[in-house]
């Protein structure tokens, strides 16, 4: 199977060569063989010894072709694709960001202290849409693009969660 790692250009080839015992495996990564012993495994994470070194991995989030892990305290994203998955993957991915997108989302949880725009207002990228308070700090949420405020989803006093849509800017 092929893997792509966050921040790394190279594509990695990884596979199991054989199962040595109940919890020991011989695996091959980029043509080099490694011995892997599983100490604990469940769908949340694994403790394992790779070539006599202990590692701890947490599987944080999994989608079909992408997984976020925290390995020995370092978090990174792995794209997994067998050859078949490859094309599918290229055309999906995370489309919910960037200036092509209409939704303005909150990147933090908090309470809405004030709303600075009205529906129908024409605003520019960087204009303050509303102000949130969280942990006693006030944070301005600014528009990610130029456009018109379409669907204003919050008003003063509301609580919002991380990733909640605050407004649509078209």
């Amino acid at each position: 199977m092929e893997f792509k790692l966050e921040d790394v250009e190279e594509t990695f080839n990884g596979e199991i060569i054989n199962k040595i015992s109940n919890n020991e495996y011989l695996i091959k990564i980029q043509n080099k063989e490694h011995q892997l012993q599983i100490l604990n495994i469940n769908s949340n994470g694994m403790e394992f010894v790779l070539d006599n070194k202990f590692h701890n991995v947490k599987y944080v989030e999994n989608h079909t072709a992408e997984m976020r892990i925290v390995i020995d305290g370092v978090s990174l994203t792995i794209n997994m694709h067998t050859k078949l998955d490859k094309i599918v993957y290229k055309n999906t991915g995370n489309t919910d960001t960037g200036s092509g997108q209409i939704n303005l989302r909150s990147q933090i949880p908090g309470k809405v202290v004030s709303v600075e725009v009205n529906e129908g207002d024409k605003i520019k990228k960087g204009d303050v849409v509303c102000v949130l308070e969280s942990m006693k700090m006030q944070v301005s949420v600014k528009s990610h693009k130029d456009g018109e405020v379409k669907n204003l989803k919050v008003k003063e006093g509301n609580s919002v969660n991380k990733n909640d849509i605050l407004a649509e800017i078209e």
Partner: protein, 495 residues
């Protein structure tokens, strides 16, 4: 003699106070909001009382409700911790009226310390140097602008009711001053319901160095050495250490004598902190007194060998200090990292939510004061400090290496933390060489260097990451497929 202490606080500081009280055989009364019913301070106190809703104004700031619990539980003293009511002189006065021993300074002294203008006046009288600025409150933005032009930009606008990085702005031009004046006013009103602003010269490349004050009810005053707290973000401390790399024995004594004068000038009792700004030229300017136990008190405990909460209780009991200044010697080096729930890359925005798993570092000369436990929740209603990680060493480098090691061992699942940032800072040559300033992060491009470090760490884990993915797909992806096809009986049962 104090026999039962109500702790008008939550989180790690409530736990910290409980630890010492328990060790001394003093009963403790915890109070908690709806949000905190599962918190450790509820579990560890002798008794625990519910005092209201999650929002601080409805619980931890509700003086009447807290007084009610004090009276019904039979507590004879109250420890305010830091934040919340700790520097509210109305609350201190309410306790005094009800014959409850408030563990801290008198209401009058607290009122004086809290009024930055009158406090500054008292210091000038006592010949403790302060930062150039407005002689008192300014009445509006225009007066502020006039003074700014007299002392020269940059200047700092500061609400006398602010604190902890709120209600404070640095401005460089008349226009920025006018805007900043509004913001500072708004933040101060949001925090405490009132605002009053002073103007001060903003000194560049400064260090924040503070001294622990200690004074009993018999007029005995000592200082318990300095703490350097220059590593900050948005005027909030991140990393503290003692001794400061720029304070030698002579300087320690020189400023220490000013600190004793400062405590006497405001008739301070119990433990408190005198904060100074140290200009790059080496001069120290008094800024303010924090009339409470500080977040960063553990590093001073480590180098002095004193238990500060015990000392607070002894002083509150009317005991004279059991030592003179000459009895006190600094022993070794200590560092504290404030482990915050925040996203460094999102301009330190708060990160809250459940923490399913946590590993708390431990070991020789490692101390971690925290409210975290596996399964706890970081609440958006309170501040972002989850843990204080403190290490001690015979040398500065020993304490620094221990800290790095402890940071590596600290695992907090579910929220973003400041741990990676601290690892980067502690590894810089600037930090190692004690080149500290309050704008350390910006001055040395720390965020960019953190990004680089994270990239390198990821590079070092390539083989391990691929191995993890290989095993995951072996164990779970194939199994999910097979369960989808073969376990149709179960599937239909569960639909």
């Amino acid at each position: 003699m104090i026999s039962k202490v109500l702790i008008a606080n939550r989180g790690e500081i409530a736990l910290r106070v409980i630890k010492t009280c328990k060790a001394l055989g003093i009963k403790t009364v915890a109070v908690y909001s709806d949000e905190d019913v599962h918190s450790l301070h509820v579990k560890n106190a002798t008794e625990a009382y519910h005092i209201g809703e999650a929002a601080p104004a409805k619980s931890y700031l509700n003086q009447e409700k807290i007084l009610e619990v004090m009276l019904s539980s039979g507590a004879d003293a109250v420890h305010p911790g830091y934040g919340f009511l700790s520097e509210n002189d109305d609350f201190a006065r309410l306790c005094e009226k009800n014959k409850i021993n408030f563990i801290g300074p008198s209401a009058d002294s607290m009122n004086l310390c809290g009024d930055k203008m009158r406090c500054k006046e008292a210091m000038l009288k006592a010949k403790v140097p302060t930062v150039p600025g407005s002689p008192g409150l300014v009445k509006d933005a225009d007066e502020a602008e006039k003074i700014a032009n007299e002392i020269g930009y940059p200047v700092m606008l500061k609400s006398v009711y602010g604190g902890g990085g709120r209600g404070i702005r640095i401005v460089n031009t008349d226009q920025e001053l006018q805007d900043g004046y509004e913001t500072v006013t708004a933040e101060s009103i949001a925090a405490v319901g009132k605002s009053a602003i002073i103007v001060e010269k903003f000194l560049e490349k400064t260090r924040h160095i503070e001294y622990q004050m200690c004074r009993d009810h018999h007029g005995n005053t000592v200082h318990l050495f300095e703490r350097e707290c220059s590593i900050q973000r948005r005027n909030q401390k991140l990393i503290e250490q003692t001794p400061s790399p720029v304070v030698d024995e002579a300087k320690r004594e020189e400023i220490g004598e000013l600190v004793v004068k400062a405590a006497e000038a405001v008739d301070y009792t119990n433990l408190g902190t005198a904060e100074f700004l140290r200009a790059d030229s080496g001069e120290f300017y008094f800024i303010e007194i924090n009339a409470r136990l500080q977040v960063e008190h553990p590093i001073s405990e480590m180098v002095s060998g004193l238990d500060f909460v015990k000392l607070q209780l002894d002083i509150a009991n009317g005991e004279p200090l059991p030592f003179k200044q000459s009895d006190l010697k600094m022993n070794g080096y200590a560092i504290e990292c404030r482990i915050n729930a925040e996203d460094t890359f999102l301009d330190f925005a708060p990160s809250t939510g459940p923490v399913p798993d946590v590993t708390i570092p431990s070991g020789p000369n490692v101390r971690c004061d925290t409210y975290l436990y596996p399964g706890c929740t970081v609440s958006p209603f309170y501040d972002s400090l989850m843990a204080k990680l403190v290490t001690w060493g015979r040398t500065f480098d020993e304490s620094r290496l221990r800290m790095l090691n402890a940071l590596n061992d600290f695992y907090i699942q579910g929220v973003e933390t400041s741990i990676p940032l601290y690892k980067t800072i502690l590894n810089t040559e600037e930090y190692k060489n004690g080149k500290l300033t309050t704008d350390f992060l910006k001055r040395y491009n720390i965020i960019e260097r953190l990004e680089e470090d994270i990239k390198n760490q990821r590079n070092d884990k390539q083989i391990e990451a691929v191995a993890s993915a290989v095993m995951y797909s072996e164990f779970f992806q194939s199994k999910i497929k097979s369960s989808n096809t073969t376990n149709s009986l179960w599937k239909s049962l569960m639909d």
